[in-house]
């Protein structure tokens, strides 16, 4: 396998890692208004993702950095071209990060409600935009011969890309519900999450399968692909999503979580299989498309990056594995959700600032 192809596969793997891990924490965020009836329920739900969402998001930073290093032209064209979409994602991710931190910092219902809703909206918004944006790489956007994007924000919208966005949202919601069913203490939230997963499974399966089929069709018609490779992934993807459906119905949360994770990975693989060897299809002239060859860094940089990644990635996997083992105990609303809660005795209220203390330098 050429170095360019290796890096194409690695970047596919990094996006998969991002979507599988952040997918369930996005999903939990989406389900807060559906599953939580009391503040304690909300605390339980946020506690279930508290220790891990931060590390999950780093996969995005790594996917971005790897694209920059290995395929600078892809990075430059995509990020400058999909400007408004990426700006929206940045805003959504930033407000989501702080909403985790700030939600519990005041007991006021309005304050908590505000940051809860910020988290919910961002948890829907970011996956939707990612789905639309990544699908547009395959569907094609206007790209000139000098590799510059010549379209507008609306170039990202097609029936296919919107279907992809909705499929990502539905799969993440199911992934999150299954995760809560797997991890929640045996309480009302877990029972409701399992019941909801049962109902979400059908629409998520339909949307997921529709995305896989549509990706094959778009790959063949718009990116001159053969049917063979995509068909294999399609079959695997449909098997995975049906397994998720059956396991959810049979209330086998661990298997169901594995199956939703596999579905998400196969959906990403499907997109990348249909893309290769192109990384951005040009809708203005097919020859203008960016490929793993005309967008890549030189041989030397790719070699250095490969060695560095081979050295570092196993270490990352090792400590990530250890982290999930450490946190595998079932969480409840009493586990600290945000760092500020460290100051709080278990089950207590957040500390109030001292009364009567003058402001520091008034």
């Amino acid at each position: 396998m050429s170095l360019q192809a290796t890096w194409f596969v690695l970047i596919c793997g990094l996006w998969s890692a991002y979507f599988v891990t952040e997918g369930f924490d996005f999903g939990v965020g989406m389900l807060v208004p559906v599953l939580a009836r009391t503040e304690e329920d909300r605390a339980t739900m946020f506690a279930a993702i508290g220790p891990v969402w931060d590390g999950n998001e780093v996969w995005l930073l790594i996917a971005g950095g790897a694209t920059f290093a290995a395929f600078p032209q892809w990075y430059a064209t995509m990020f400058s071209g999909f400007y408004i979409a990426l700006l929206a994602i940045l805003v959504l991710l930033i407000v989501r990060v702080v909403s985790f931190e700030w939600r519990t910092k005041s007991a006021h219902a309005a304050w908590r409600g505000l940051w809860t809703w910020v988290n919910v909206i961002a948890s829907y918004g970011a996956p939707l935009v990612w789905g639309i944006g990544l699908a547009s790489l395959l569907y094609g956007t206007p790209i000139a011969a000098n590799q510059e994007f010549t379209g507008s924000f609306w170039s990202l919208f097609s029936v296919y890309s919107v279907l992809a966005g909705l499929a990502v949202v539905a799969l993440f919601a199911l992934h999150g519900a299954v995760y809560l069913g797997l991890r929640g203490r045996d309480d009302a939230v877990r029972a409701r999450a399992q019941a909801l997963a049962f109902r979400l499974a059908v629409p998520a399966t339909l949307l997921g399968a529709a995305f896989l089929v549509a990706t094959l069709v778009v790959g063949v018609t718009r990116n001159h692909q053969g049917v063979g490779g995509g068909l294999v992934v399609l079959v695997l993807g449909v098997v995975a999503v049906l397994t998720a459906l059956v396991c959810t119905w049979q209330r086998r949360p661990a298997l169901a979580f594995g199956a939703t994770a596999a579905t998400i990975v196969l959906a990403v693989i499907m997109l990348f299989v249909e893309l290769y060897p192109r990384v951005m299809v040009s809708s203005s002239a097919f020859a203008n498309s960016l490929t793993v060859h005309n967008a890549a860094s030189g041989h030397y940089t790719l070699t250095v990056m490969t060695v560095a990644t081979l050295l570092l990635l196993p270490i990352v996997f090792a400590y990530q594995f250890w982290t999930y083992r450490v946190f595998r105990v079932r969480v409840s609303g009493e586990t600290p959700v945000t760092p500020g809660d460290i100051l709080t005795p278990r089950g207590g209220r957040p500390p109030d600032p001292p009364r009567g203390g003058a402001p520091p330098d008034a």
Partner: protein, 482 residues
């Protein structure tokens, strides 16, 4: 708005020439970088202090150190979250607003960014989660190890970012590919380990330690002033003074060594930051001046100078020659063709002075604290406590000034001698788009700053938590309750 700030703003506007999208993209990068670098040095400096605090508790079983660890951990994590969130903006901006730069040098510049993510940032983020949420799930030793990994991760992360920035200051280890016409890496060791990187990295680490140290000192003094938790915060203040005193001394010397290293690679930066229009031998150091900041008005109306000091700072000799702006401009024109290679001199001059003067002030504060600790008079020294509280601002302002100097005095280059800033900007982004994005970030970051300040103030003023769950000494740990 003070007149001087308006003037420097105009300086920025004049530079790139015509493109407004370029100017807006520069403003966005400048503002988001300074904002990001408010939080980063604090985490870089607090991490080792937290590690020391927790280690003392681990070894002595003195619960006061555990309470201090948890108290400052909250401040640490509030800042880490915003630092991480705003860091993604920094990475994405290279593609969004600076795609010309990304295309031209991505082959070289992308590698340190990618390796930072996979080698350092992932480490930090994961182990902060383990450290914060895992205290009941890990053994005491493993929990202590986590904070050391976090410390290592924050510094390693800084190293890769500084390596990337130093490459923009002084590109090495590359060649221009004849076919693509773009930069291509040829020597990874030169890119990652050039002298400027090492010099700048240590400078930034010291800046981080001063930031963390002065924040701990200031917060501790707030409590001492009010006579609250004295036995805890006397210890915290003493620890902070132990850190900032040596670091402030070394930082002044190190900063001037970095100046010498910079003189070798970017003579214009030093000439501009001294407003030295013509070569001088020996060159005096200007402490303060009015006027003298433009080519048409090269002589200050008023100035205070120390003879020969600039020669010493720039070359380590009191008598050697320092090149002036006009001479470097002529050399640059000979090398790179006609054009204006002079950065905003007023901005360079004052950012250098703000940084150096605040550094000196920090040193004086640290010495004052050191004397009080030695005489065991820290608790009674009300004026010192007040000064230390105000001193929280010193490292942050000095950090800002340092980056303003480093980045604006490199102009008109985005990669020194290789690519002009005007050529680095995205050609696809319209003024409206970049303007909208700048507006969004100013609004969003403004709200974040207000809430963050409010949170920091609130959590800096609570009483450190009582320890209700921690074992002391070798006592068996209670089982986690779920």
């Amino acid at each position: 708005m003070p007149r001087r700030r308006v003037a420097s703003a105009q300086g920025l506007w004049e530079h790139g020439g015509v493109s407004t999208a370029l100017e807006l993209a520069r403003w966005q990068f400048a503002l988001t970088t300074l904002y990001h670098f408010t939080f980063v040095p604090l985490t870089m400096g607090l991490a080792p202090l937290l590690a020391v605090m927790q280690t003392i508790w681990y070894r002595t079983a003195d619960e006061r150190w555990l309470r201090l660890t948890r108290f400052f951990a909250v401040l640490f994590v509030i800042n880490f979250a915003i630092g991480a969130a705003t860091g993604i903006v920094q990475e994405f901006q290279f593609g969004m607003n600076w795609s010309g730069f990304s295309r031209y040098v991505g082959d070289v510049f992308g590698a340190p960014l990618a390796i930072e993510g996979i080698g350092a940032f992932m480490l930090e983020s994961t182990f902060i989660g383990l450290w914060i949420f895992g205290r009941d799930l890990l053994s005491r030793r493993a929990h202590l190890a986590c904070v050391y990994v976090v410390w290592f991760g924050t510094w390693l992360s800084a190293y890769f970012i500084i390596a990337a920035n130093s490459w923009m200051q002084h590109p090495v280890g590359y060649t221009i590919n004849a076919t693509t016409g773009r930069a291509q890496a040829t020597d990874v060791w030169a890119i990652f380990f050039q002298r400027l990187t090492i010099m700048a990295f240590v400078h930034v680490i010291f800046a981080g330690l001063m930031t963390g140290g002065f924040v701990v000192l200031g917060v501790a003094c707030w409590h001492l002033l009010r006579g609250r938790n004295i036995e805890l915060f006397r210890r915290a203040a003493t620890l902070a003074i132990f850190v900032v005193l040596p670091v402030s001394v070394i930082q002044l010397g190190w900063g001037s060594e970095l100046g010498v290293a910079m003189t070798d690679v970017q003579p214009m930066k030093i000439a501009a930051s001294e407003a030295l229009w013509n070569s001088a031998k020996p060159a005096p150091f200007s402490l303060f001046q009015i006027g003298g900041f433009s080519a048409s008005d090269p002589t200050p109306a008023f100035s205070i100078e120390v003879p020969g000091l600039l020669s010493f700072l720039a070359t380590n000799s009191f008598t050697s020659e320092v090149e002036g702006i006009n001479q470097v401009q002529a050399q640059e024109q000979a090398t790179h063709g006609p054009g204006n290679y002079v950065p905003d001199v007023r901005l360079a001059y004052w950012s250098m002075r703000v940084m150096a003067y605040l550094g000196t002030l920090s040193l004086m504060l640290a010495i004052w604290g050191g004397i009080l600790v030695r005489r065991k008079r820290l608790l009674e020294a009300r004026w010192f406590q007040r000064a230390a509280l105000a001193g929280i601002a010193l490292p942050f302002l000095a950090n800002f000034a340092g980056w303003i100097l480093t980045e604006t005095a490199r102009q008109p280059w985005i990669v020194y001698g290789l690519q002009r800033t005007a050529a680095g900007v995205s050609t696809t982004s319209s003024t409206a788009m970049v303007g909208a994005s700048l507006g969004v970030f100013v609004g969003l970051y403004g709200v974040l700053a207000i809430v963050d300040f409010w949170l920091m103030r609130r959590y800096a003023r609570v009483d450190p938590p009582e320890i209700d769950d921690a074992p002391t000494g070798g006592a068996p740990r209670p089982a986690p309750q779920y």
